[in-house]
Symmetry: C2
Subunit: 135 residues, 2 copies
């Protein structure tokens, strides 16, 4: 299963959001998810398994509890894939766009860059619809 497939599920995204604030037990995660998505405990456990198997989360056993934590490597890979598109919205940074307020910063021009061709019909709409973190 590809990294983007893992992140395609809203429950798994929410679990990772929870883990972003620090490690949590399976039970604590299950409580939150069950309240927000109304699914069963096994369903949550299966999502945790997927996150484990795909390397997005790691587990630490302490007695009967399992503490889950974010594992950054796959997320970093996703971020790396986005690199090739970043110029599409970061080029506006030169004009002091709002991205700077969101905490991004301009990249130094890469030394041995690719051909890069033309910049593709720059349909610069500037639309930034923040309809995320559903449910």
């Amino acid at each position: 299963m590809h990294a983007f497939d893992i992140l395609g599920d809203p429950v798994r995204r929410r679990i990772l959001e929870l883990l972003a604030d620090g490690e949590r037990t399976s039970g604590a995660i299950t409580d939150v998810i069950r309240a927000e998505f109304a699914i069963s405990q096994p369903a949550v456990s299966q999502h945790l398994r997927v996150l484990r198997d795909s390397g997005f989360a790691s587990v630490r056993a302490e007695g009967a509890r399992r503490f889950y934590a974010v594992e950054p490597a796959p997320l970093s890979e996703v971020d790396a894939w986005l690199d090739r598109f970043r110029r599409f919205w970061e080029q506006r940074l030169d004009a002091l766009g709002t991205e700077l307020a969101r905490g991004r910063c301009a990249r130094p021009p890469r030394a041995g860059g690719e051909p890069a061709r033309q910049a593709g019909s720059g349909t610069d709409t500037g639309k930034t619809d923040p309809s995320s973190t559903e449910a």
Copy 2:
């Protein structure tokens, strides 16, 4: 369909990779995809439709040809979602990690931050497996 679901499909990811180099006609995209994935023309067209409908790509008609181009907004949103995890691999930047060579840069600490709790069992493996861009 959520942005991550759109990116979950390898064909759609590949199409976006092609568009990252500049706009392309439906036919040109279809040729490459058919060669790499062995799927039919309607299949490619349906993927293009999904990319259109979800805002990842825009179309420009020129005679009978349709020129597709990357539309950055949804990709930027995906990138924004990753923000909350970025510290997990960027904190190593202070130690001059390899990320810097990849063109990233450290963020200035955000002003009104969240609780942030503990940093979650920092299992800092340093593993950076670059097994991406399959097929």
